[in-house]
Amino acid sequence: MRVSPDLSVEIAGVPFPNPVMPASGAYEVDEIHDNFFSPSELGAVINKTIFLHPRPGNPPPRIWETPCGMLNAIGIPCDGAEAFIWDKLPNLRKLGPPVVVSIAGETMEEWIELSELIESTGMADLLELNLSCPNLSDGIPWSTEEKTLERVVSAVVSRVKLPVIAKLSPVVTDIADMARTAEGAGASALSMINTYKGMAIDIKRKRPVLGNVTGGLSGPAIRPLAVWAVYSAYETVKIPIIGMGGIDGPTAAIEFLLAGASAVAVGMYNFIDPFTMKKTIEGIRTYLLEEGYSSVREIIGMAHTRA
């Protein structure tokens, strides 16, 4: 009898039972999802990014379908950190898999306050800094400017013991430089990538489609760009990478693992097939069996020519 391959991986010292998790903002844990599969089967769970204070989000239209993808300008609506800690975090905690808490700050002080607040709950295993949304006062995401990235990551890392994941924006000259900067500032892992900035125009109204004018592009359309981002960062940094961007099943997920991701996240495909993450876990297991590997860890980064 063939032994089932070991799917477990480790991100910043935290064991994940398997390498598949949701991407922040694209999957909720609630009773609506009860008839699909249990989130306790996931490699990790994560919340939609929260800010310290409640925010309404952007005016509609917030989403627009594009070839092989979608634009979104949701604007991260949230009820604030208090509501999250009381209403949502305990539900994530009791599922079983490690809990990643995704946060964002509008100011440096907010990043620090929110990080400390989340750590003080004792309910998070990892902290993901969503550095890639354009909410800084000057409109530039935290992770598109090396000095800013360095400042915010090192500030958070110096205040909390929780391992910190830096979620990077691909809208930069060279994402490997940003990966190195985040690592240098003390990040324990990277999430790559957030969406690409884009827009669509309604030719009848002759105006941008989205209420926010621009939005972030996700889905299979960005997958080759995301695989390249992970591949190039893997050559540059030693910390583990969570790869994402257009994963629609096991084949795409395995591409990311071979490129150097230690785990993968599924975003918009959860909207199309709510079983995508479960099918991805099963498909990775089948692939490892067929290819004769005993652990998923053996294939991480295998696409690199270096020995």
């Binding site: 903002g25 694209a26 999957y27 909720e28 609630d30 009773e31 609506i32 999802h33 009860d34 008839n35 699909f36 939609k48 309404p56 989000g57 952007n58 005016p59 509609p60 239209p61 917030r62 989403i63 627009w64 379908e65 070839p67 092989c68 993808g69 979608m70 979104n72 949701i74 609506p77 889905g219 299979p220 359309a221 918009m268 959860n270 909207f271 199309i272 097939d273 709510p274 079983f275």
Partner: protein, 262 residues
């Protein structure tokens, strides 16, 4: 309320009536058994990257015994065109039932003010009210006689169906809201549901705000997931800050609680 399922389902029949509107009967037992009035499904009839997202459609009627439900789809763009060409026996991917089912039926008389594909949204409600022996008055509006949607079904489940056409080819020559105002004056209705026209929505909201009826709107909005994951389907709240999600808080809303686009 029953949690939705995601299933590969089968197209049992497809019929065009009137031109440009397709009635699809779909076999999926669990959805047929758990759906309620006001609920919708997300449907995908393709494995392509373009279109990629599933599309939302109201459940026109559900037959729990036969395990089938019906949709009425107006051909608008890529997705609906593909759905309109599916052959009997084809597979579709459906998630549902989604959204909140209507559960309050305490009105003494209900008017359904609908136009175009909006007619599809209220058939289930009309059937439910009829079973409860509650009076239903439907005002079915269209540009012209040959564009009246779901007419036979609405006639089956209404005490009266009033037709209004823009060109006067059948029924009242003019605005469906005139008929509604008349029904209210006669004291026949205290509750109104509307779908398919911004003009109707604004009119019903004005009546609701004036305290003349309880007004409800079936809202549409671009949807990514239909189940609260993407936060794409926002509609602005009236009277307070923030947004509702059409898929989670609706799709049926009390008219005074939401901002109606002009």
């Amino acid at each position: 309320m029953a949690a939705p399922v995601y299933r590969k389902a089968t197209l049992v029949s497809r019929k065009e009536n009137p031109k440009g509107y397709f009635h699809l009967v779909i076999r999926e037992e669990q959805i047929a058994q758990t759906a309620g009035p006001g609920q919708f499904v997300m449907v995908r009839g393709w494995h392509t990257g373009d279109p990629i997202l599933p599309r939302p459609f109201d459940i026109v009627l559900a037959d729990p015994l036969k395990g089938v439900f019906r949709l009425c789809i107006k051909v608008e763009g890529k997705g609906t065109r593909l759905l309109s060409t599916l052959k009997k026996g084809s597979s579709l991917y459906v998630t549902g039932p989604l959204g909140k089912s209507i559960t309050e039926f305490d009105s003494s008389g209900t008017a359904l003010l609908v136009r175009g594909a909006g007619a599809a949204a209220v058939v289930f409600l009309a059937e439910t009210l009829t079973k409860l022996k509650k009076p239903v008055f439907t005002i079915l509006s269209a540009s012209t006689k040959s564009r009246l949607v779901c007419r036979a079904l609405l006639e089956e489940f209404s005490n009266d169906v009033f037709i209004a056409t823009d060109d006067g080819t059948e029924g009242y020559h003019g605005n469906g809201t005139d008929i509604l105002d008349q029904l209210i004056t006669e004291g026949k209705v205290d509750t109104v549901y509307t779908c398919g026209s911004h003009r109707f929505a604004r009119h019903v909201k004005a009546l609701d705000l004036a305290g003349k009826v309880k007004g409800y709107l079936f809202l549409e909005g671009y949807m990514g997931c239909g189940m609260g994951d993407c936060h794409g389907c926002a509609v602005k709240k009236d009277g307070e800050d923030g947004y509702f999600l059409v898929c989670m808080d609706g799709p049926v809303f009390r008219s005074r609680t939401v901002v109606v686009d002009s």
